[in-house]
């Protein structure tokens, strides 16, 4: 049954309201069931105390009130007690209870001798019945009271009319009080119902909200479970990945306390990951590194001190930049054996964490260090080899040119020797013998002797011949002296560069002069191979540079251009050398040839050690030039349009004329 219908209530709220009313009625039914028993006991006790027996003279009997309290009271209470306990909450139950309750009012009034105070039971009962919050329920006791008066008026007029006689309108007063209370209680019931309605409405809203919240919570819980599952899987994967890391990976607090460690710590450090949890990360550092850090800590700020010895140096070295800059430290294996390592620590800001954590990797770089040492050694050897090769190249150029000149010298000397031999010294000697033979009659001999007559002519011819030979010989000797002077110049130039360059000292250098010297070293060879060299040299202020290395580079580039020309098959061999100012503090030296050119695939390999395209080449020249250029902080590059189209080598030098003292050598 619906408690009461309102258009404002939702079906759910109406159901809640009905449920609440049912529960209210049920609990009130049980309350009245207990009250019925109590009233039955009370009525019986009252009857026993007030009117236990009725007397007739000397004899007495149990008073009728006792039997009435026992049997009528039982009858009155039985059904409401049964219904209240068996069918609580049903309309019939509370209606029977209402009827029984007013009956009990009447009974108790009787049993207590009609005491006026007992009449209060009527009003108390009405108040109790209002617990049901049904104003209709109040009609029943009111009706019963009316019936009581009606029945008594018929069967027992004395009890009614006696009152009427005394006060004809007192019953109206009594009735008015009852009606007054009923009206008040009916209003209270209605208010109670309205409150229940509001409560039901609010409960409906609350439960709807709760349902939404529960749905949301359930949904979020499912999402959370899914996320946790994913997170667990992700964590597992991450853990696997971390454990698969060759380099140990650590997470630490700001106090360098290790929070986690990958499995590889056991391989590298000899510690099991679990053994490191909670330990200080400085445990993994060698004593020397720790001592160094400890010393530095005395100057550190509070945060660095709090950060621990391991983290502090990173904060200082990178200006509190823990973005993962690697640092090489000596780490310590379990037992204290140090080993070189590359330690990288970076700060990780975790959401919802007040303090950041630090992650770090420790890479065992022992092999790398050994390889680096080996590489340094090898590199030094290579540099030395390159230097030697460069020097050899220069020496080769020098020797080549000196050889060419020596060939001319040899030819000149041979010519001189042949001229000397062809000078007719034997004729002169024979003439001298003839003169000596005829010294005594030399006059007659000249005038008379047939042979003597030819002697003047012979002398004249011999003189002419020797004069002629002398001129040739002078020319040859002149050439010979020139060639010897050239050799001297080449050698002295080489010696001069060797002396200055051996020390590796930078000095002010006039780049144009240096280029001319480099060309000069190759002049003889160029001339012999008919290579035309054109120089376009800008007049730049001297710059400080290692003259020997630069000469080595230029000689190599010019020699390389010469060979390119020679092997190109072209009839014209042409080399153009240009010196010009580059961008900013740079100077550019370009060596261009119209030689064999460079295939595109070799452009990037041409400076590699051992790379050469000449059958008799060694691959040292350009490599040594590149090494030397690197040492000069210069850049060397090559461009070529392809095979047969020549090539241009560009040497990009640092050029700082303002810093160069103007000191002419």
């Amino acid at each position: 049954m619906k408690f009461f219908q309102t258009t404002q209530l939702t079906p759910t709220a109406q159901a809640l309201l009905d449920e609440q009313h049912d529960q209210l009625c049920a609990s009130t039914d049980r309350l009245f069931a207990a009250l019925m028993i109590l009233q039955w006991v009370g009525g019986l006790v009252a009857a026993l105390l007030i009117s236990p027996r009725t007397w007739i003279g000397t004899t007495s009997h149990v008073h009728f009130h006792v039997w009435a309290a026992l049997f009528l009271g039982t009858a009155v209470s039985s059904l409401p007690v049964y219904l209240g306990l068996r069918y609580p909450g049903r309309p019939l139950t509370r209606n029977v209870i209402a009827a029984a309750q007013v009956c009990w009012s009447a009974l108790l009034i009787h049993f207590t001798g009609g005491r006026i105070e007992t009449h209060f039971h009527v009003f108390v009962s009405l108040a109790f019945l209002s617990f049901y919050r049904e104003w209709r329920l109040l009609i029943i006791p009111t009706t019963i009271v009316a019936l009581d008066h009606a029945i008594r008026g018929i069967f027992w007029p004395q009890s009614v009319y006696g009152v009427f006689v005394e006060s004809p309108f007192r019953w109206l007063e009594h009735a008015a009080w009852v009606v007054f209370e009923v009206v008040i209680l009916a209003g209270s019931c209605r208010r109670g119902r309205l409150e229940m309605q509001q409560i039901a409405q609010r409960q409906d809203e609350l439960e709807t909200t709760n349902q939404h919240i529960e749905d949301a919570v359930q949904r979020r819980t499912q999402e959370l479970a899914a996320s946790e599952s994913k997170l667990a899987a992700s964590e597992s994967r991450l853990r696997t990945l971390l454990d698969s890391s060759v380099d140990p990976l650590l997470t630490m607090t700001a106090q360098a306390e290790i929070l986690s460690a990958s499995r590889s710590v056991e391989t590298v450090f000899g510690w099991k990951p679990d053994e490191l949890i909670g330990k200080n990360a400085n445990l993994l550092l060698a004593d020397s590194a720790e001592a160094e850090i400890t010393a530095d800590d005395s100057k550190g700020n509070d945060h660095e001190k709090a950060g621990g010895k391991l983290l502090a140096p990173f904060q200082r070295s990178s200006a509190i930049d823990l973005s993962g800059r690697p640092r090489e430290l000596n780490a310590a294996r379990r037992g204290g054996a140090p080993f070189p390592s590359q330690v990288t620590v970076w700060q990780v800001e975790l959401p919802n964490e007040s303090e950041p954590i630090y992650m770090g990797t420790v890479r065992d770089i022992t092999e790398r260090k050994n390889a680096e040492a080996e590489l340094v050694s090898l590199n030094q050897r290579l540099v030395d080899s390159a230097h030697q090769a460069g020097k050899a190249e220069i020496a080769n150029s020098v020797l080549h040119n000196v050889g060419n000149v020596l060939n001319s010298v040899n030819v000149s000397a041979e010519i001189v020797r042949e001229k000397v031999r062809e000078l007719g010294i034997e004729n002169l000697t024979r003439l001298a013998g003839v003169v000596e033979e005829h010294i005594d009659d030399f006059g007659s001999f000249v005038s008379t002797d047939q042979r003597g007559k030819h002697l003047p002519r012979f002398l004249i011819d011999l003189s002419d011949q020797m004069a002629s030979e002398e001129q040739l010989m002078i020319e040859e000797v002149q050439s010979l002296m020139s060639n010897i002077e050239h050799i001297k110049t080449v050698i002295s130039t080489q010696q001069a560069y060797a002396k200055s360059g051996m020390a590796g000292i930078a000095e002010p250098v006039d780049l144009a002069d240096l280029i001319r010297d480099a060309v000069h070293v190759n002049t003889s060879s160029m001339r012999r191979h008919h290579v035309e060299v054109n120089c376009e040299l800008a007049e730049l202020e001297p710059t400080v540079i290692d003259k020997h290395k630069l000469l080595q580079i230029l000689v190599n580039l010019i020699s390389n251009a010469k060979y390119a020309c020679m092997e190109s098959g072209n009839e014209e061999h042409r080399i153009s050398i240009r010196l010009k100012h580059g961008d900013g503090d740079r100077a550019l030296i370009e060596v261009e040839d119209n030689g064999m050119g460079i295939p595109k695939e070799n452009v990037t390999r041409i400076f590699a050690h051992g790379f050469t395209t000449r059958s008799e080449g060694h691959g040292f020249g350009l490599h040594s030039a590149a090494v030397a250029a690197n040492e000069l902080k210069a850049e060397i590059s090559v461009s070529s349009d392809g095979p047969g189209k020549g090539a241009t080598f560009i040497l990009d030098l640092p050029y700082s004329p303002a810093e160069v003292p103007t000191c002419k050598m």
């Binding site: 759910t12 159901a15 809640l16 009905d18 449920e19 049912d22 049920a26 007030i50 009117s51 236990p52 027996r53 009725t54 007397w55 007739i56 003279g57 000397t58 004899t59 007495s60 008073h63 009728f64 009130h65 009435a68 049997f71 009528l72 009858a75 009155v76 039985s78 059904l79 049964y82 069918y87 909450g89 049903r90 019939l92 029977v96 009827a99 029984a100 009956c103 009447a106 009974l107 009787h110 001798g113 009609g114 005491r115 006026i116 029945i151 008594r152 069967f155 027992w156 004395q158 009890s159 009319y161 006696g162 009152v163 006689v165 005394e166 006060s167 409906d204 439960e207 709807t208 349902q211």
Partner: protein
């Protein structure tokens, strides 16, 4: 949203249950009605009214007041119904001028009973009424003399010894409250309603056993 409701039995079971309940209700109603009617009948059935003498008996040991109304109530010491009469008297005399009325309560002690037996709760209640004179009538002479047969019987004489009222002052057995007798006695004491005698029903226990003669007068104790 699920709302749990009490699920009454359905179908035939429900009808059967309802039928039983209605039968039980009818039986219960009849039982209660019958019991109530019986109770009403018992409470509303008066005892035999006394036939008091029209004039104050001269041989009575009781005292007729020179002024005002002399009231004599006869009571059985153990009658529970008379408690209501005592209460009514007490309530009445609380508002009456002591000079306008005198009250004598005669406890008729049945034969074979002594004074201790007679000094019951009713006697203690009667003693609480201001100015009331308590008299124990062992042989029932005074009771017979005034024609009292039922406990709670009361008769009132004026100063001239003329009977002005007789009967009970409760509306029912063992029932306080407004009654015709109470109203008449109150009017007699306060308003003097005239010379007509008023007689009302008496509700109480019989003062004499069936084997006793309630008509024969006895000596006053």
């Amino acid at each position: 949203m699920q709302v749990s409701r009490m699920n009454p039995p359905g179908g035939a079971a429900l009808r059967q249950t309802q039928k039983r309940l209605w039968i039980a209700l009818a039986l219960w109603g009849m039982a209660v009605l019958a019991g109530t009617l019986a109770l009403m009948s018992y409470s509303g059935t008066p005892g035999p009214s006394g036939i008091a003498q029209e004039h104050w008996p001269t041989d009575s040991g009781l005292t007729l007041a020179a002024e005002g109304i002399s009231i004599v109530m006869f009571a059985h010491p153990k009658c529970p119904c008379t408690r209501s009469s005592i209460e009514e008297l007490s309530r009445l005399f609380a508002h009456v001028d002591p000079g306008s009325a005198s009250l004598q309560i005669v406890f008729r002690v049945p034969p074979g009973r002594n004074l201790d037996w007679a000094k019951s709760g009713l006697w203690r209640k009667a003693q609480e009424i201001p100015g009331a004179r308590i008299v124990f009538d062992f042989d029932g002479a005074e009771t017979r003399r005034f024609g009292a047969k039922t406990s709670g019987y009361l008769c009132a004489y004026d100063a001239a010894g003329q009977l002005r009222f007789r009967g009970g002052i409760t509306p029912a057995r063992n029932h306080e409250g407004a009654s015709a007798g109470g109203y008449a006695l109150s009017s007699l004491l306060t308003e003097d309603i005239g010379q007509e005698m008023v007689s009302t029903n008496v509700f109480g226990c019989p003062l004499f056993s069936d084997d006793e003669d309630c008509e024969e007068p006895h000596e006053q104790q």
